[in-house]
Symmetry: C2
Subunit: 264 residues, 2 copies
């Protein structure tokens, strides 16, 4: 690469807490000329790229404030001017979030592209609950699935439930009731479940319950998007389940596992 | 927490490259009194905790050099002395790796425990291939599954294949042939597949192919554990698939997407 050859780096901005950025992401941001910022990225991330021009390109939950094609053209335009473009995406850039389309478009355009991994929000949700996603007493793995499909169809919830794996459902809050009702036709109503909103950020809030109760608990607590819905027996190991008094409460980010335990 | 109350922090050490640690992991390591180090963690991580006593507690691939119960007692003992114990685990601590058991043991013992997330190696594998795990033209999610089960049984590969999701298979290299043969009974032989060894580290090596060819390619290239096996049409978007000349070659970490593209 010559000195004036531009490039695009897809940077995983993690779940919100800037301390959950990787060292590599921080270094890349420090060398960015232009930063394209998604809605779900903590806006304070720009402090790590004070030298860069920042462009907000959010398109939250289907309301396309910035069309995808425009974002792709923008990245190509700046890279062709020899600039280092950082495309900051929430969570890990390679899980949902249309990185696949952006990588394909950049490759077609002959633009050099690099990727920096990060922490996806389901991992942060599990950390907040104090639970492994895959406790080996309970399952052999975890499924990360989006409930927000392009054609407004549904994932095959029966097939997913049949695997016996932990489910980590992204973008499911707008239809959590119907989603749980469908899962209940394949899994016991008593299957542990949790909802974690703004996982891994200062605003994190979470409720725990079962497939039969979690939708009502989440609504009662006022939890909405963005949130991760976790389902499965591995989730039943969460500290709050061991503490029946706290089981159906809302826990803020400040409630450490230890605090939950002490309250018991 | 009083000044002399100890605690354990489960720190996700990521896939190898120390730059893929989170800022939070680096801060926690800098405040550790004792670091318990797994085999799959880059040993150079100890440079981030020069003040700490380092104890290697690896138990690679079933040969139990340090029994799990001993590791759990070790953590408790040091925490009870008022020390800050960092348990460094490869990838993200909450995906495989027995964090569930360790969290339960620490909670039972009344030891305060915190969790720091990180990058799991399947994400690094996808980054090396230049591909999203969930390109929305191809799938609605990804399944992280371990092929190494406690009772030497097999995951239900048919049920996993039936979901239509990308498969990210951990710890499958010792039986990649039988694993692919089983998947071929549920998925087309032509389904794209890849193997990435030491993903996200300086030693990263990868091969691409199909369910029908990947086991032979991986063996021919001498790839073994630790490696991630990726299966699914989203993986077919990898840069190396667009380049038939390179499709069956071995790519080192140094082969950037751009270099692969140039060789075409």
């Amino acid at each position: 690469m010559t000195g004036n050859e531009g490039k695009v780096t897809l940077v995983s901005a993690g779940p919100g807490d800037l301390d959950l950025l990787t060292l590599k992401a921080a270094k890349v941001l420090a060398s960015a000329d232009v930063v394209l910022l998604d809605d779900l990225v903590n806006p304070e991330i720009v402090a790590l790229a004070p030298q860069a021009r920042v462009i907000r390109v959010g398109k939250r939950g289907g309301c396309r404030s910035t069309p995808q094609a425009f974002i792709e053209r923008l990245m190509q335009r700046y890279a062709r001017r020899g600039l280092h473009v950082v495309r900051a995406k929430g969570g890990d850039a390679l899980l949902f979030g249309r990185a696949g389309e952006e990588l394909a478009a950049l490759r077609r355009a002959g633009v050099r592209v690099e990727i920096v991994n990060g922490v996806s929000s389901a991992f942060a949700a599990a950390a907040g609950l104090g639970v492994s996603l895959t406790h080996r007493d309970h399952c052999q793995g975890v499924i990360f699935v989006t409930a927000h499909l392009r054609d407004h169809s549904e994932p095959d919830w029966h097939a997913l439930a049949a695997t016996g794996m932990t489910l980590a459902i992204y973008m499911g809050m707008s239809r959590i009731e119907s989603l749980c009702a469908t899962l209940v036709s394949a899994l016991p109503t008593t299957t542990p479940a949790a909802v974690v909103q703004w996982a891994g950020s200062a605003n994190e809030r979470r409720v725990t319950g079962t497939l039969g109760t979690i939708a009502a608990h989440a609504r009662a607590a006022g939890l909405g998007s963005p949130a991760i819905i976790l389902v499965g027996h591995a989730i039943g190991e969460a500290a709050s389940f061991a503490n029946s008094a706290a089981s159906f409460g809302v826990h803020s980010h400040e409630s450490s596992i230890e605090e939950l335990r002490r309250r018991a």
